[in-house]
Amino acid sequence: MTEANGKQRPFLGYGLGLRRQHYNDVLDSRPDVDWFEIISENYMVDGGKPLHYLDRIRERYPMVMHGVSMSIGSTDPLDYSYLGRLKALIKRVEPAWFSDHLCWTGMDQLNLHDLLPLPYTEEAIEHVVDRVSRVQDYLGRQMLLENVSSYVTYSESQLAEWDFLREVVERADCLLLLDINNIYVSAFNHNFNPHTYLDAVPGERVYQIHLAGHTQEENLIIDTHDHPIADPVYELYAEAIKRFGRVSTMIERDDRIPPLAELMQELDRVRRIGESGVLNQVA
């Protein structure tokens, strides 16, 4: 599998989101996790425990950075004080890459601390493409954009979500963090076939995959990250691997966080699917 420019796509293996509940366990038991993803904003502090553990765990494991506040789709100007702090953290962590979401989080200098979907319009594509390019210039590297789950549709949307996503990443020449659970959640909420989504994704740009649990309600699924990964999401993951080949994959767990050992078991199942996809391809 090659990157857009012909380079080999890096493969980190199978990882977990680093959570403070597991700091000591990670250092003491050195779990067989290939890499960790950190939430960038949690480490944009001046000192103390967060940075202490970050540095020690980074010495032992590869890392990637994942942000939640860039608000790449907002109509506010880009926040260069935020980007400056992000740049400093990138320098400290030297991550394999960094990502944020294809969404907006607020306007008029407010942060709603949520990943709000964009309308799938030409106007939004142009707006985001321009901003991604400026962020990539400022930080001197490509970024990964993640698809978010959504509960709302906009009447002005002209495109399907997958066409919108593809247009943005290709025109901005950025990379993709594909959240398989988010595809599953949005497919249910908005009545589309998740395989159609996967078919439209430019596979060579998918550098990372997120898997997570969700909460099923009567006519809506909410992306809560407080449950183990659901079976249909594993199935969709297998479909993704069939199409894209082996991709660095991790589990996001943000609430009702179980002991590390439990997440390791879940990660074993992920790994088996991730690797079997490769065997199938070779055979």
């Binding site: 944009m44 907002s74 306007m107 942060n111 709603l112 709302v152």
Partner: protein, 267 residues
């Protein structure tokens, strides 16, 4: 205003004031759930996310008063204070001032006069928790200073050092409320203010009360007074004979506790 800006403005207004929303023609009909329900998911998530942040930042406060009252306080704050911060870490910074204002004006809080102080105390603990690191002065550094340099020395303190004045038995309440399970504790107002120090030593956040002479000496040095001027202030309190020994003892203690980051020589 272009379309995207208008859409974002409408959506944000809805999330901030969901009960004021009437027409929502900008929400599509394609989803499985109704437009109203789709939107309410975002408004509910907004409120519950920020409430949880306040709950985590103010663990003792949220245990000290009943859940309904805490929820009312939190929701009131959230409605008045949308976040301007890129990180949720800072969201709760205005909560103590908000509570202070309510305690002054709202009769419901007449019996909870200690509440603002507990809130400030918890917020300050959080500030010390992830304040910047800095190199610390050692006893060896102090020993190597020539006697004639001492009068004009100034001292820099770690960014994790906070000095607060408390009217209530807030630290004791905080301890009782944050053990698992929480202990019964009564708020007691002391006759006068007492001075407390909050700081972080290596990775552990600590707090302790200050004797009156220690407080005077510490405040003077933190205000940038020279060693000799601070000693004079100390001497006014405890007498010129005891002041030098006491000053040396206090400095030694602060160094051991990791409070002093730099000694500045005058030139």
């Amino acid at each position: 205003m272009n379309n995207l800006e208008e859409l974002q403005s409408q959506f944000q207004n809805y999330i901030l004031k969901p009960d004021k929303a009437t027409m929502i023609p900008w929400v599509g009909l394609g989803g499985r759930a109704s437009p109203q329900f789709q939107l309410s998911v975002y408004a509910n998530a907004y409120l519950s996310r920020l409430k949880e942040v306040l709950m985590n930042d103010y663990p003792a406060l949220s245990v000290a008063i009943n859940g309904d009252l805490f929820a009312r306080l939190a929701e009131g704050f959230i409605h008045q204070h949308p976040s301007h911060f890129f990180s949720l870490r800072d969201y709760g910074s205005g909560f103590p001032v908000y509570i202070h204002g309510l305690a002054q004006s709202d009769p419901c809080y007449r019996d909870l006069a200690w509440l603002p102080e507990l809130a400030s105390f918890e917020w300050t603990l959080g500030q010390a928790f992830d304040a910047a690191e800095s190199g610390l002065v050692t006893e060896g550094d102090m020993a190597s200073i020539a006697a004639e340099s001492w009068p004009l020395l100034r001292f820099a303190f770690c960014p994790c050092v906070y000095r607060i004045d408390l009217e209530w038995n807030t630290p004791a309440m905080w301890k009782a409320l944050t053990v698992d399970p929480p202990l019964e504790v009564e708020a007691i107002r002391s006759g006068s203010n007492s001075a407390w120090l909050i700081w972080r030593q290596e990775l552990v956040t600590r707090f302790r009360s200050l004797e009156q002479d220690e407080q005077l000496f510490l405040d003077a040095l933190r205000n940038g007074e020279t060693f000799s001027d601070a000693c004079e202030i100390l001497a006014e309190r405890i007498g010129a004979d005891s002041a030098p020994m006491r000053a040396a003892g206090l400095l030694k203690g602060w160094i051991q506790q990791g409070l002093i980051t730099r000694i500045m020589f005058s030139d």
